[in-house]
Subunit: 292 residues, 4 copies
Amino acid sequence: MKDALFRRVAGDGAGPYDPQEYRIEEVFDASCMKDVQSEPDHRNVAINKVGIKNLRYPVTVLDRDKGQQYTVAAINMYVDLPHECKGTHMSRFVELLHLFRPKLSLKTFSDILTQMKSHLDARSAHIEVTFPFFMEKQAPVSQSIGLMDYTCRLVGSINSSKVDLVSEVRVPISSVCPCSREISVHGAHNQRGMVHLRTRFKRFIWIEDMIELVERTASCDVYSVLKRADEKYVTERGFSNPKFVEDIVRDIAVELKKDKNITWFDVSVENFESIHNHNAYAYISSGGQPEI
Amino acid sequence: MKDALFRRVAGDGAGPYDPQEYRIEEVFDASCMKDVQSEPDHRNVAINKVGIKNLRYPVTVLDRDKGQQYTVAAINMYVDLPHECKGTHMSRFVELLHLFRPKLSLKTFSDILTQMKSHLDARSAHIEVTFPFFMEKQAPVSQSIGLMDYTCRLVGSINSSKVDLVSEVRVPISSVCPCSREISVHGAHNQRGMVHLRTRFKRFIWIEDMIELVERTASCDVYSVLKRADEKYVTERGFSNPKFVEDIVRDIAVELKKDKNITWFDVSVENFESIHNHNAYAYISSGGQPEI
Amino acid sequence: MKDALFRRVAGDGAGPYDPQEYRIEEVFDASCMKDVQSEPDHRNVAINKVGIKNLRYPVTVLDRDKGQQYTVAAINMYVDLPHECKGTHMSRFVELLHLFRPKLSLKTFSDILTQMKSHLDARSAHIEVTFPFFMEKQAPVSQSIGLMDYTCRLVGSINSSKVDLVSEVRVPISSVCPCSREISVHGAHNQRGMVHLRTRFKRFIWIEDMIELVERTASCDVYSVLKRADEKYVTERGFSNPKFVEDIVRDIAVELKKDKNITWFDVSVENFESIHNHNAYAYISSGGQPEI
Amino acid sequence: MKDALFRRVAGDGAGPYDPQEYRIEEVFDASCMKDVQSEPDHRNVAINKVGIKNLRYPVTVLDRDKGQQYTVAAINMYVDLPHECKGTHMSRFVELLHLFRPKLSLKTFSDILTQMKSHLDARSAHIEVTFPFFMEKQAPVSQSIGLMDYTCRLVGSINSSKVDLVSEVRVPISSVCPCSREISVHGAHNQRGMVHLRTRFKRFIWIEDMIELVERTASCDVYSVLKRADEKYVTERGFSNPKFVEDIVRDIAVELKKDKNITWFDVSVENFESIHNHNAYAYISSGGQPEI
């Protein structure tokens, strides 16, 4: 038996990956080598997911305002393995990723998943892509421009021909404690928090829209550049808008429930309490759909 | 309204926490302070989990051979919050934990969960406790003794009166690649891997039993002290026992399916491949029961 | 040549490690095995540090109030290797640690380092021990008791017969921004911060003393249990005591400079700004002594 | 007093940051706000470093083969603060970084450091930039192409007018144990390791050159794509080239000492031992120059 490689057989390979342009072919004589992975297995145990984990790769992701942005992802790719097969072909995940790298987004996830299923002879396929995402953001008074970073994650699965996508954002926020404000003569404890929102949807949604939805629910959102007039603004806005983790997670849930495009969500808020060395946490799930 | 504290009203507090010995009482005049958390909420959104996250605490856990061992845990504690309540009482989690600290194990989890539900006026409660666990282990030839460390996690939930427990172990192993061994004139690539096993069960199970089950399925288990004669042994044992991630995850699944006490499991193996900078991964779930 | 092991030859092994009670002996016939590590090396390059890294071990550390406390450490141990030796004997580090485990503190560091140098035939030895340390702490008004956790690190080196010790504490604090307070009509942004203090000293110092010194310089210190009356207290205390990272790092430096027992220090403060997703940082070194 | 902002006063801002094109100006009336940072300080303690830490930013770095590549960095920026000044102006670091972002490399570090010193009225300035760096790499037999990722770090300081630069690479490698190979009938334990190399130099050096130097000293280098013929090659190459951590760190030191362009280095190798749950470690410093 010979070893297989992806080879381009048509086109120039410049645009996004077109499966018509490639085929898997045997490119060198590996007939002397036993293909252990392809041997039969007799334990009668199917494997839900097998593949590669934590591969770092530069990727291009869709950007609502600029068309696309460059970033770096940590990528996991899995397929299922039927009970009668001994092993999967790990190198094909990386080869396939290398071909798809130019265009990675919710829009191309179905293509990647379909190709994974096909090239790995599988019935289901999974991909998880985690990356920092950047948005330009103006300070509220001085209009000074900086970049905010958000850790995002796209998760896709295909099962038979049904594709399931989940879009995740982690959004740093500022929260002011209502209890502390109420009972104290001056001031109120406040802190950085992190919101983790996961959504399923009917039509494509922009990462940026989910980030902005979360930021609107905070006591105040956070910025990378703040001049003194901005600092005054965000301090006063937060103080006039105190919220518990319970309030923030609920306000996000209320917004998401209004959106008919969102078919499922869960959301957590974790506050890095300024008065403790542990965190406050709240979590809401819309229920209904199982986790990916 | 006054603020509440746990106070011992009977007994000497020396043994494990006995709820008969404590009551929540109002211990100082906080009547001038508004209790913002206890106000009604009108958003009509219940919260699945609210509480504290990542609190480090010294704990005592059950040890099969020595009765108990001292370790340090990172602890999360949550309850649900009905739609009509504005906030929970975060400080009560820490107070309750402080009382239970002397004895933390699967055996006492039901008590803790019941107390959480009661003292926080909740319908469900959750606790997650992650800690390093140590076992003495003799080198296979020299019998030299060292300690192995395993990251473990106990997760408990109570819903109405039904308690759901999950026991998790992370076990480092050594794996030798069967393909590499088969096709190479000499040697075979091998590496450290990490097995993550989660189980539900009918009767109490020892963490140690789960760890030993996993270690038996590896190409070879790992040790903290190995003299040269041991190193020869583990090298040769691994080489004569090559396994893919697929093999290890399946062999663990086969063993668990034989055990009538295990009602649910999932298990993953992640190999820190010595020939790549990414990892190989395989995952099997017994299916059926939802995740905790 | 035969393989060597630590064996107890006197005493009962119950107390702290007594080198008189142990000797390294050849315990089994390893004469058929080549001792590759002991071969000569011809590259003419001495190695500054060689050993083991990130070994987790349960340890007992000194406690000012209770005598001792149990915790779990991550341990690094190194020796130098002269240019003419090919390799060191990695297993001896773990064996030696296993013997010393009952008593690990600044007070026993000199003994461990001396034994490492001796048993590894080295001219210098280094040990780094990182662990969570717990202190009981009463809430300021309700007197409710909880445990605070601090990540600590003891670092020791021996060179010829000179022992160099560094004691490190990481102390979480709360800081209130003076600028925000000054320019805002209401409130002031505040946040959790982390102080990292390293000291060299003439006479033994308690970890607890260093922690308390740091906590006194914060806008307010942090607690694990705070009832509402406490929350009012810490909010108001922080608000009346606003400090930049620059102020906190300086106030710590001023205190340390007054202490004739401290021969060297460096200290950093990192604030997890509630208005940004990045941190504010300040660092002062007393200069003079080189880093360990 | 008014607040200051960077404003472009000439040019189109399209190329790399040109200080001639920008000036700091007062852009809005902040005269009602007290400038707390600019007040005098009376503690008589200078601060070595004050600034921002862990700001994530997309950056463009020099690429030996392609001119440049896009990646994402975590950035720290500090200046010193004289004893008589109360605070620094944190927002200016981010503003300055935003202007320099298009071109970040060892070549532009002197410019950034000079600007930091100037705009923050400081006598010294420091910048630390950590980022994943990618190199295309062909499998040794099949020539299959993948991307390898390396975590790199550029560190620069300016003191008076003297600039000090350090270039750091972290390179994953594969190592085969010589002892295990020698004493075992079949096989030899091997594992992934991580080399951390830091260098100072006379003339500009490519990150890629340092990475390739390290990879040549391993038992075998690692790849992202390996077909079976490649796997046979890397297994056999590693087995015929066994090395301890001591050997690898020495071989790197020997190569660096030959290079007259390298004025200082230190290098560590950490092996994630496949037979232990702890790591083997070796470290060599060329000595002489102090750490940055």
